[in-house]
């Protein structure tokens, strides 16, 4: 496939691996921020091809994994008790709430629909004027523009039966939270390419300056990842800490201005609770007051108890890169995709899911 096969070329991959091996003198821990990158590393078998001195730490960039249990409970409550049509991206529906997942709610008769686009939810609202339609708006900066656009469309059409259950989170505050954690030992960072395609590069300069950690904005294919790792290792060996852009074919310095404009029309930055990590100040988006009509939190009165996360799940440590999935005593035993203790086991970008699906035979080598 044009524009993909080039980035999966075995020859280029081997050349890059050779260069990484010759450049890497010290021992380095590099965190790939995005869960999509984690999956690509594991799925392509890259973790086992890197020299042992270059260790990949899996970051917090899985939006499904960091969505707090209380929001899932709210979604389940809306679908089961308020009888709304609850629309969601597919990843979200297997994630366990404190009582049940959306998938279980669906099996018990709730109207839960899996969509690819929030605009499809607006269409459902238009076609079902007597039903309330809620879109479970989960994601990092990448999905925010489309979710914001759905609100703009609903408003333009005068639809009053459409609302967002917004759980948007932002990457830079998450990187900061990880770097501030005394248990994390991260030397360099692969930035999340698609997030930067929307937001641009500006907000990463202060991180590089403050924490003296190189950040290389990186894509998702094997060649992208290895090139990003090489660029990071080169900086580390040279004692540098710069912001670089490996994914320049997609990421522009200023990002996607139109998308950013749509985001700031609908959303404002707010504090957010992260599953397993806690509240991170100014780390997510909430709907602006002028769009209150489309905000589930303001439209519905939801009285449900705030449940604690399952204490057996070490998602927080996994997402801060302190532990690998195979270091969890429940991994593959009590916790599996069919009976998850936490979100990282069922999200398509979750580190635990990546390890479960692709590495059971190789887990000993990956765990080191």
């Amino acid at each position: 496939m044009k524009y993909l096969s080039e980035f999966r070329s075995p020859e280029i991959v081997h050349a890059l691996l050779g260069e990484i091996k010759s450049v890497a003198k010290g021992e380095w821990n590099i965190m790939e921020v995005c869960g999509g990158q984690t999956h690509s590393l594991v799925k392509n078998g890259i973790l086992n091809m890197l020299p042992a001195t270059v260790r990949m730490i899996h970051g917090p960039g899985c939006p499904v994994c960091v969505t707090p249990v209380n929001l899932i409970d709210k979604a389940v409550h809306l679908a089961t008790e308020k009888e709304v049509i609850l629309c969601s991206f597919g990843d979200m529906i297997r994630v366990p709430g404190s009582g049940m997942s959306l998938l279980e709610a669906k099996a018990r008769g709730a109207d839960v629909r899996i969509l690819y686009s929030p605009l499809e939810a607006v269409k459902i609202a238009r076609e079902n004027p007597d039903r309330e339609v809620v879109f479970f708006a989960v994601g990092f900066e990448t999905t925010a523009p489309a979710n914001a656009l759905s609100v703009i469309h609903a408003q333009r059409e005068g639809l009053k039966n459409y609302a967002l259950l917004a759980s948007h989170v932002l990457v830079p505050p998450a990187i900061e939270a990880v770097l501030n954690d005394p248990l994390s030992h991260i030397n360099g960072i692969l930035g999340a390419g698609h997030v930067c395609a929307i937001m641009g590069m500006e907000e990463y300069y202060p991180l590089v300056d403050q924490y003296k950690v190189p950040i290389v904005i990186t894509g998702f294919e094997p060649v992208d990842l290895l090139e990003g790792i090489l660029m990071t290792v080169k900086q580390l060996e040279a004692g540098e800490a710069k912001l670089e852009n490996q994914y320049a074919r997609i990421v522009k310095t200023e990002g996607n201005l139109k998308a950013r404009e749509i985001i700031s029309e609908v959303f404002e930055v707010a504090d957010r609770q992260w599953r397993g990590i806690g509240v991170i100040p100014r780390s997510g988006y909430s709907l602006k007051e002028k769009y209150a009509l489309y905000d589930v939190e303001k439209k519905f009165i939801i009285n449900i108890p705030t449940e604690q996360e399952n204490p057996e799940c070490i998602a927080g440590e996994i997402m801060k890169g302190i532990k690998k999935p195979v270091q969890c005593q429940h991994f593959g035993k009590k916790c599996k995709p069919s009976s998850p203790l936490g979100a990282p086991m069922v999200s398509s970008e979750g580190a635990c899911a990546a390890y479960y699906h692709y590495t059971s035979y190789l887990e000993k080598t990956v765990a080191t």
């Binding site: 999966r8 392509n44 939006p63 499809e120 398509s348 970008e349 190789l362």
Partner: protein, 339 residues
């Protein structure tokens, strides 16, 4: 389509009374009639002169019409293929409908015509059947169950226990067409594609291969739900061996690869309806592949891997770039992803 007094299916069509008879007379018997079915008895009696294979399958696909076929030919080909995977020559089918009240008669007719065509193409006869109607909302237009009976090829010796170290794994063509064709029509995913389902009967090529290679063919499986990955895992779990496959040997059509990329699906887990995996003795594998490639749908057939002593019970794939990873069974349904 014949001229009828009704244009939709009603509960009365499943009552067993006059309306049921009208429906059957107007359609099913006329289209599918044969000596055994025409007796209209509670069941059919017949003689078979060989070892017998039997298989059953229910079809609930939604939507019922898709690019490359509909639920009717799927229901015939599905059971024909299950018999073929047993090394059997399909002979007879039972055909049971569960229809939802309100189903348009023209849709039912189109399904029936597809069943007739598929039966003729596959050389099987429907010899008994049943029709029930459920209230609107209790079904999804039409569900079909077919059960098939076939005579096992005299040289066939298909048995999971015959899989041995060194056997080659052969895939008959490019995967994931059926699943992608269906997904492209589901609500919320509508996208334009020219990808059609690969639904087709496989028994003719299987019987030709059995004529030539007989007991050298140790196992046959068609990777329908759960795709290639799930079947390979099932094969690995039958015995004391592991399976190793090579990503570069699996030909994935460009349009299918593109659609899967866009939908966040792994083609190795997507359903097929006209594909098979053969586990063949190493000595016969090259000749088997050569003959398979002569088949009109076999040009892209390939040896994709082999049965190994290492990692018993597990399927390991050598990735295109030289890495290795486990291929697990699909857990739950493949779901579209966020980003």
């Amino acid at each position: 389509m014949p001229k009828l007094d009704f244009d939709i299916i009603t509960l009365g069509h499943g009552s067993g009374g006059t309306l049921t008879n009208q429906l059957l007379d107007s359609g099913v018997f006329k289209l599918l009639g044969n000596e055994l079915l025409d007796k209209r008895h509670d069941g059919a009696t017949f003689q078979l002169n060989a070892r017998v294979a039997m298989s059953t399958d229910s079809f609930v696909v939604s939507p019922i019409f898709f690019a490359g076929g509909n639920i009717g030919d799927l229901a015939v080909n599905g059971t024909v293929n299950d018999l073929a995977m047993c090394g059997a020559i399909p002979k007879y089918l039972s055909l049971s409908f569960i229809l939802e009240e309100g189903l348009k008669m023209e849709e039912f007719w189109e399904v029936l015509v597809a069943i007739k065509t598929a039966c003729e193409y596959a050389g099987v006869q429907v010899i008994t059947g049943d029709t029930k109607v459920v209230e609107r909302g209790k079904g999804d237009k039409i569900f079909i169950n077919t059960t098939g009976i076939g005579e096992v090829h005299p040289q066939a010796s298909i048995d999971p226990l015959r899989v041995i170290t060194g056997d080659k794994i052969i895939l008959s063509g490019p995967p994931a067409r059926h699943g992608v064709a269906i997904m492209s029509l589901r609500q919320g995913l509508e996208f334009e594609t020219s990808i059609t389902s690969d639904t087709r009967p496989l028994h003719k090529i299987i019987l030709q291969l059995l004529d030539t290679f007989g007991a050298e063919i140790h196992l046959l499986r068609d990777p329908t739900r759960g795709g290639i990955s799930t079947v390979l895992n099932e094969i690995a779990k039958y015995g004391p061996n592991g399976i190793e496959i090579n990503e570069h040997a699996i030909h994935i059509e460009e349009e299918v690869a593109g659609a899967c990329e866009m939908l966040g699906l792994d083609p190795l887990y997507v359903a097929n309806e006209g594909l098979f995996i053969a586990v063949v003795h190493a000595n016969a594998a090259d000749a088997f592949l050569q003959q398979l490639q002569q088949w009109q749908h076999g040009a892209k057939a390939a040896i994709i891997g082999e049965v190994v002593v290492d990692h018993p019970g597990q399927v390991i794939m050598n990735s295109n770039i030289g890495g290795r990873r486990v291929i697990n069974m699909l857990s739950g349904e493949q779901l579209p992803r966020i980003c």
